[in-house]
């Protein structure tokens, strides 16, 4: 992990494995009723709720800065439009992951307002439509 260069309060104990830390945070998210995979913003919210745990806040701040730097160095045309809050991606039909690695879903009734999938040959348009068809059939049967 890249260093943020900012001064943080040093943890009293040696830092844990970051993956283990994230796993702990996910378990906490599940315990609080949020059973979806949380993004950085919601992870940060969990950490803010527990201000004693400075290690988590430090880690999340570093991850956020790393993400911002990545965005700055390699801007993606779709990054700006990809949802960042889970409230935006809520839906009963899961379509896949966005370029931000967040789950993208859509409500069935929202399809009344039509959907367009565009992309070059072999980019996954038909696979997306297949996933949609399979989920609609499974839900109706």
């Amino acid at each position: 992990m890249k260093s943020s260069g900012r001064s943080h309060q040093k943890p009293s104990q040696p830092p844990q494995n970051p993956e283990a830390l994230i796993r702990d945070i996910l378990i906490r998210a599940k315990q609080t009723g949020d059973d979806r995979k949380p993004n950085f913003a919601s992870l940060l919210q969990i950490a803010v709720n527990d201000p004693e745990d400075t290690e988590i806040i430090t880690l999340l701040e570093e991850k956020l800065q790393e993400s911002e730097m990545e965005n700055l160095l390699a801007p993606d045309a779709f990054r700006a439009t990809a949802p960042t809050q889970f409230d935006d991606v809520d839906g009963d039909i899961v379509l896949g992951m966005t370029s931000n690695n967040t789950v993208y879903g859509i409500n069935r009734d929202a399809l009344c307002r039509h959907m367009l999938t565009a992309g070059s040959s072999g980019s996954g348009k038909t696979s997306l439509l297949k996933i949609l068809v399979a989920q609609l059939i499974n839900r109706s049967s």
Partner: protein, 264 residues
């Protein structure tokens, strides 16, 4: 909820394994009388719609008008008033009527007659079995199933005609029979929809009315999901009416620019 998939290739057969009500029909076994109105849709409005759909077959507005005139004459000759139990003339009957029609040589009408005759001849020679039937597929039964129509193995123009006629039928039927509802009742999925919603045609002197139908269908619980390759060639009516737009990756910068423009 009824699911209708208009598939370009044979890669949408998996619903048969998932649902007992799923039906897969190859295009050459599909039957459609283009001149018969869908249930609950008036004959007059269907005549207008079918003339538009045949008109999409590279037919100018004046020739479409001749089509409409001869179609109405044909319906009167056969005593067809739009009831489901009546025998309806077919495209083959209309073709014969057009061939017998005589206009002064070098007149505008003779030119339109020739243009119409050529188009009908092309349709009947490429897909005669599909359109030379009196009754056609039962739309009510079709909408009781998960229906998959496979369109591989025919020329793009015929694909387009079959697709647009079926789409018009479903949309008009839902508009005529449905109540206004925010809930999804019918979902039509069109794979490779760039042939159906063409921007080039939208800019011509007789634009297709499919875009207008899509706008109306939304209020009646009829949704459309369209997959397209070259988004810069897709009609504005489609891009502006789709509330959800997903890009899966572009190999052409012009498509990427167009996609960024329409989601901006």
């Amino acid at each position: 909820m009824a699911l209708v998939v208009l598939a370009e290739k044979r890669n949408f057969r998996f619903p048969i394994r998932l649902s007992e009500s799923a039906v897969v029909v190859p295009w050459n076994l599909y039957r459609d009388n283009a001149l018969r109105n869908p249930p609950s849709v008036s004959l007059g409005s269907w005549c207008n719609e079918s003339s538009q759909r045949i008109g999409d077959f590279d037919l100018r507005f004046a020739s479409q008008s001749l089509f409409l005139e001869l179609l109405k004459e044909l319906h009167v000759e056969h005593g067809f008033t739009g009831e489901y139990w009546q025998s309806c003339p077919t495209l083959a009957d209309l073709y014969q009527k057009v061939r017998k029609k005589r206009y002064p040589l070098m007149s505008h009408q003779a030119r339109h007659r020739e243009s119409l005759e050529n188009r009908l001849s092309g349709i009947l020679h490429h897909a005669g079995d599909v359109f030379a039937c009196n009754r056609g597929i039962d739309l009510k039964k079709l909408l009781d199933h998960d229906f998959i129509l496979e369109l591989d193995g025919t020329i793009p123009e015929i694909k387009r005609l079959i697709l647009s006629l079926l789409l018009s039928r479903i949309l008009l039927y839902r508009i005529a029979t449905g109540e206004r509802t925010p809930h999804l009742r019918t979902l039509v999925i069109v794979d490779e929809g760039q042939n159906l919603f063409r921007r080039q045609e939208e800019l011509s002197d007789s634009p297709s009315t499919l875009g207008h139908l899509i706008t109306l269908a939304r209020e009646f619980g009829c949704g459309i999901v369209v997959g397209v390759q070259n988004i810069r060639d897709v009609s504005y009516a489609l891009t502006s009416n789709c509330a959800h737009k997903i890009g899966t990756g572009f190999s052409d910068m012009r498509d990427l620019d167009e996609f960024c423009r329409i989601i901006a």
